[in-house]
Symmetry: C2
Subunit: 390 residues, 2 copies
């Protein structure tokens, strides 16, 4: 009987998705190249500036800053590198703790680890799939104390240096609440906006509220540079430092090679930036397509009981990077059946990440009660979301 219900729901989900995306194999998210990609790549090759320097890097950075409203954007090799450098410049030091959501891609935690700091896992809320602000405030009030203007974890004795909300699937977290927590507890706010290019919280672009925000242009993102990322900040000094650190900390000189600190080879190559410039020109169109795709999914799923589409939080405009189904709790046992049925016939779907605290490298990291994150990992499914589906 259970099996039958499960099978029925799986079939209904398949049919609903098929009504929107049509027949054949459909990826979860694939890029489309309908603009000047080819022209800019050709221009880049013809200039021979495919690597460290070139006009597309500067242009891409200017356009990212312009679109997001951040004063400065520094393009880098990927979103993980962007977050690592942002955390470093936000003052994260060896032995510190950094608050991150338990429900995020592992790169968020790894960037913390690269700073020799420890991720400290925070629970999520149903409304945003991002950090639960009320729960976090209560938790910090209980486990932390203020010492010389620093937030100390009373249990571990370590400094809680930064809080890194991630805007899940493009849906803005409760940034107002998090800004307020950061202020009240003397913790630096750094936004992992890897998934939320084109997402706004009360009209302001995600990634521009914290001291830094970071973006990703991986192949599965709303726009892509092949591999790439960016650091956003409103501070001129921090922007300069970020550029310096991500370009091996070389002191500018026509022929001398002098470096004044341990830097990183994290610049975005010009050829990847060329692709990005062409993609950026299509961003508004892609965002509109994603909203239209949501509308079509809503229509297709309207009569299916037990499953609903996740909608942007109130006051927010999401990029709907990944379209998201949420199963009613009582249907959570159907998750695997739906994943198996859809993937088997070439409709690519996936669950939300396993909570990172459940993964081997982070099993012993500090964490609060993560009951919501654990629940969401059993009821959330991403379905095909490419803007090209519209």
């Amino acid at each position: 009987m259970n099996l039958e219900i499960s099978s029925n729901l799986s079939n209904e989900v398949v049919q609903a998705i098929r009504r929107v995306v049509g027949p054949g194999r459909v990826e979860l998210h694939e890029p489309t190249f309908n603009g000047n990609e080819w022209q800019y790549l050709k221009e880049c090759l013809d200039s021979t500036y495919v690597s460290s320097v070139g006009k597309f890097v500067d242009q891409f950075e200017a356009e990212i800053a312009n679109f997001t409203g951040a004063k400065y954007a520094i393009s880098v090799v990927n979103g993980t590198a962007a977050l690592q450098i942002a955390l470093k410049l936000a003052g994260v030091k060896a032995g510190d703790e950094v608050l991150i959501s338990a429900l995020t891609f592992i790169a968020t935690a790894n960037a913390v680890t690269y700073c020799n700091a420890t991720p400290h896992f925070v629970d999520c809320e149903e409304r945003t799939l991002g950090m639960d602000v009320l729960k976090l405030r209560e938790y910090l009030s209980s486990i932390s104390s203020q010492q010389s203007g620093q937030c100390i974890n009373k249990i571990t004795g370590r400094v809680i240096r930064a809080v890194v909300p991630m805007h899940t699937f493009g849906h803005p977290s409760d940034i107002e609440g998090l800004t307020s927590i950061a202020r009240d507890f003397n913790i630096v706010l750094v936004e992992d906006a890897a998934e939320s290019l084109g997402s706004f919280y009360q009209g302001q672009h995600t990634g521009t509220f914290g001291l830094f925000g970071t973006l990703s242009f991986n192949g599965n993102k709303t726009i892509t540079t092949g591999g790439g990322g960016a650091i956003l900040t409103n501070s001129r000094a921090l922007a300069r430092h970020a550029k310096h650190l991500t370009t091996t900390a070389k002191i500018p000189h026509a022929w001398q090679f002098r470096h004044d600190e341990v830097g990183y080879n994290y610049r975005m190559p010009n050829i990847n930036a060329a692709l990005g410039c062409a993609q950026l020109e299509q961003l508004s169109t892609k965002l509109a397509s994603k909203r239209e795709l949501l509308r079509r999914y809503q229509a297709a799923f309207i009569d299916i009981e037990g499953v609903s589409l996740f909608l942007e939080p109130k006051g927010c405009q999401s990029n709907y990077w990944l379209q998201t189904l949420v199963l009613d709790k009582k249907h959570s046992k159907n998750l695997n059946s739906i994943l198996e049925t859809t993937n088997k016939i070439g409709l690519m779907t996936r669950p939300v990440w396993d909570p990172i605290n459940s993964l081997t490298p982070y099993r012993n990291s500090p964490r609060m009660d993560l009951s919501s994150a654990n629940l969401f990992s059993k009821v959330v499914i991403n379905i095909p979301s490419s803007s090209g589906l519209v």
Copy 2:
């Protein structure tokens, strides 16, 4: 009088270079794209696989392995990342020391630092511009002792875990001597072959003697992928581990996101690999051009006293990545004048790197006597070296 001599030598150098490269601005090293670059980039865009996966990554890795004779090649985002992962997999741990040449690009030292280890600087020899094997052996005999099969620095108490020769400007270091030191002192050999794609030591490709070798495909290298690098190894298990670590350590699964260790987002994007596949097809031609360029420089400089062209060490075939002038010691005072005169008129030249131990972040790192490295930094000049100059 001194000024006059200096000015004369500078002018002679300028005239000799001009005889080879002709008039106008000439870069130190710029790439040329004379093959299938267009076609492969277009194919890559048309496939939509520009990012994490795609056929060009696999093809590039197979062709790099084939060309170098390494059993396995793993393509990554740049040479620094390649070396960081190679060192990590070679067992370099926090608190270890790693022997590197004092004369190398700072990335060699930074890769050691990323492992939370300390670079320990080694002097160079005139014959190769690489590590001085005799001096290193004598030094290690004096400062190290063997404890439980590990090489311990008696002064710092730390383990000397690895030795990382760099094949300067493409000229193979004394690999036989270094292999023997590595064996005798229980130190792992990892080759930084960033500059030496196409360079052979007694018929065997550089980067294939150590447990790992690492390559770079930066825009200034013999062939380029925009930004990129590769890890070479003959061990299947290590190759698999390197691939795993550089692709976020994700356990393969159609929809689950599980990662079993702290990995890195270091894969080479498919679009960069597409460029690399086209470039690799021209590698032999480029190498031949570089040898012809050397021949032309030799003819142009034959009658100029006080300066000579650096030639490949005996038994080696160098890629002549950067053509190199060596001033007679008594002319070292002319270095700056030559650099200024050439760069001012658009003939890009540069000195060898400042010895890394002289740079702020590494001033306090352990080192042996570095008198040769210090001397070379005053007498070595790289001159325009692009294969396109022939």
